[in-house]
């Protein structure tokens, strides 16, 4: 018989889900925030995003060639890494930082560990940590972050206090004033208190939500990030347990411990909407490769991210803790998987 039959193990039918399809959807979900970044910070934001993506894709192709494995850049996973890396840069970051960061993310964090599926840490976040350690002035301690169009860096009116992003303002200026209230002038305490008051009303939450408060280019507008997050949730490409567990933990801890003047006085809206929490909770803590595979594990992972984020924000050396929180929990992921193995059907 001339006919050749294909023989394979069952099953013989498959869903149309695929890695390229998932990654392309993640790219699409990041488009609103990317468009927002260009709107808020101008053409340089676009330059950073384009260069970061180009560098990620180029580095991946080069590494795969060198490794002698099939080049799989068309699955878009490097594009996701490039966009996320760019999102973590301030709008005044030099162009080469985008290129170098993405190259580090792909070559060191992803390909050296075996390529897609084998990396331990989220490549974009690990690269951000690398940039932060190498060029701290540009990456974080600068008070020179550009303000978004139609807004200001802190989003509040300040008298006698230097402009900064909200979390920097709280960590570097406001909390120190409260901590040594005896040694600073009453006027300073008063103006610090006025800042906190301004940060605790609906107008301010609106500014954080729509994007009139400064930060790195991708975290500016909560609305645009949530829009992309909803797309991923409806397609089940991310598990709702991660954003809910992460943001929920941050909210609770912010309320309990976040007030500089006592327990249960924290500003929940501020901690949830400011900084990189939504970007992290929807797009980075949900990274499939570097987070646990069981539902129970995802809860533990999410709550752990929330705890570390608030620990760093309130007690740590950096104003923002999202990146390191997720990286720490990435590290714990194999352990979480080991201890959250489901009890099998009929198991004792």
């Amino acid at each position: 018989m001339a006919m050749t039959l294909k023989v394979s193990s069952s099953p013989h039918i498959f869903t149309n889900e695929s890695i390229p399809r998932i990654m392309l959807t993640v790219v699409i979900s990041l488009v609103p925030a990317a468009v927002g970044a260009v709107y808020f910070f101008g053409a340089h934001a676009l330059v950073l995003i384009v260069l970061a993506v180009a560098s990620a894709v180029g580095t991946e192709a080069l590494c795969q060639k060198l490794r002698g494995v099939p080049v799989t850049v068309n699955n878009c996973s490097a594009v996701v890494t490039g966009i996320l890396l760019a999102f973590n840069l301030p709008a005044n970051a030099p162009w080469w930082m985008a290129v170098l960061g993405s190259a580090f993310a792909i070559a060191i964090v992803k390909e050296l560990f075996g390529g897609i599926g084998y990396n331990i840490w989220n490549p974009a976040l690990a690269a951000r940590a690398f940039l932060l350690a190498s060029w701290p002035t540009t990456m974080i301690s600068s008070t020179e972050f550009p303000a978004p169009r139609g807004g200001s860096l802190s989003g509040v009116e300040l008298d006698g206090i230097t402009q900064a992003t909200p979390l920097q303002l709280i960590k570097n200026t406001i909390i120190p004033i409260f901590e040594k209230a005896e040694s600073v002038s009453a006027a300073q305490v008063e103006s610090a208190r006025r800042v906190l008051e301004q940060m605790a009303n609906a107008d301010y939450y609106g500014a954080l939500f729509w994007g009139r408060v400064g930060g790195v280019i991708g975290e500016t507008s909560a609305a645009l990030l949530i829009l992309g997050g909803i797309l991923l949730l409806t397609r089940s490409y991310i598990d709702w347990r991660v954003p809910v567990g992460y943001i929920g933990t941050v909210a609770v801890l912010a309320w309990v411990f976040g007030g500089p003047e006592g327990y249960f006085t924290g500003n929940v809206g501020f901690h949830v909407l400011s900084g990189g929490l939504l970007l992290g909770a929807f797009f980075m803590a949900t990274d499939m490769v570097t987070s646990p595979i069981t539902r129970k594990g995802k809860w533990i992972f999410a709550v752990g991210c929330g705890i570390f984020t608030m620990l760093i924000r309130l007690k740590g050396g950096y104003p923002e803790g999202v990146s390191y929180a997720i990286l720490l929990m990435n590290t714990a992921t194999p352990l979480i998987d080991l201890y959250t193995k489901p009890k099998i059907y009929g198991g004792s």
Binding site: M1, M3, L5, K6, V7, S8, S9, S10, P11, H12, I13, F14, T15, E17, S18, I19, R21, I22, T72, G114, G115, I116, G117, Y118, Y237, D239, M288, V289, S291, I293, T294, R295, K298, D337, K341, P342, K343, I344, Y345, G346, G347, S348
Partner: protein
Amino acid sequence: MFKEATFKGGVHPPESKAATSDKPIKTLGLPDNVILPLQQHIGAPPEVTIEPGDKVKVGSVIAKPTGFVSVPLHSSVSGEVKSISDQIHPTGVRMQAVTIESDGEDTWEELKIESGTHNELSVDELKQKIQDAGIVGLGGAAFPTHVKLSPPAGKPIDTFILNGAECEPYLTADHRQMLERKKELIEGVKMIVRILGNERTIIAIERNKPDAIETLEKLCRKEGNFEVLGLKTKYPQGGEKQLIEALTGREVPSGGLPMDVGCLVQNVSTVLAVYEAVTEGRPLIEKVVTLTGSAVANPGNYKVRLGTMVEEVIKQVEGEMPGNLGKAIMGGPMMGIALPSLDVPVIKGTNGLVLLSDPVPVAIHQPCIRCGSCVDTCPVRLIPCELALFAENERWDKCREYSVKDCIECGACGYLCPAGRNLVQLIRYGKYTVISEDQKKNK
């Protein structure tokens, strides 16, 4: 509304049943030859009792059982035994088989008809008739039915489940039989209930067969106290363990059998075979098979003599061979076997032939991205992605630690995997390696 009975996990592949679900069962013409492999059930293969050149009739015993966990094999045509030789089995391996050339007469052995008198038979006589008829689980597992109906004294059965779920996509043979042979089916259920002496009897059907649910419900209202229950349409709802979980909330212990939780499951074709064996003394010589798939022009449900070549079935139905046949699956697309050749016979476990035209879907086996969909879908709650990695790296200790032997090979994980990984293939590799290690240890 009550919550639909179902199990945890599972998938919703396209049902693809519309092409055949309303096609009445047709009987195919007699084949010129049949090839009857001796090993068609789990257990000891029967021993050949004929020689080449012998004349046989339909229903003549051609091989006798070699123990309790064994059943006889009967000729499915009348004619002459041509050979006893190794032939390709649907699984791709060569196995001893009897080839019989049909004389076209279709002369039957005399059947011991006992219609209406089966109530006078003892339970042991009933079981003997079932064994004599060569009946095995026809859902695919092919375990001798009389053995399954003989639980040890310490394991009383309180619930008998008639499995009418037919959750495999494409297949409609059980669906049609439930509609067309409802009375015989209920009579068969009564026989099994008499053997088991169980309290509760459930006829379980997926909700995508509302006509079957309605028909059997109507009949059961008149005929005794069997419950007819609609199940959520979800694969693998018809898996024995999933069915028990859905209907009773019980979980069959790992490594155990349904009787460990007082349950016994039989599928529709098996119960009909029991009915025929008891009332007519008719041995198992034919099977209702759904022939369907993208490469089939005349999909339908056909009654086929056992041992008929797949190629013969296709020729009789289609007239000619499909032009661009890419894959021929014996069984459904989730758990069926991809046939290496069409020169293989229909056997007792065959319930469908799904022919897919080229290009057929192919799993591309890329690296796992740990999306977790296999973990969420696994009805046994295994971690398929990790098990597959362990098997790929031949870490048998880890396979064991992650309960590889509990995999039911339903294929839900492989169906969903976005990386197209050969999860089931790898897990099977691990499973059977571990099982054979265990067997060596026990020797």
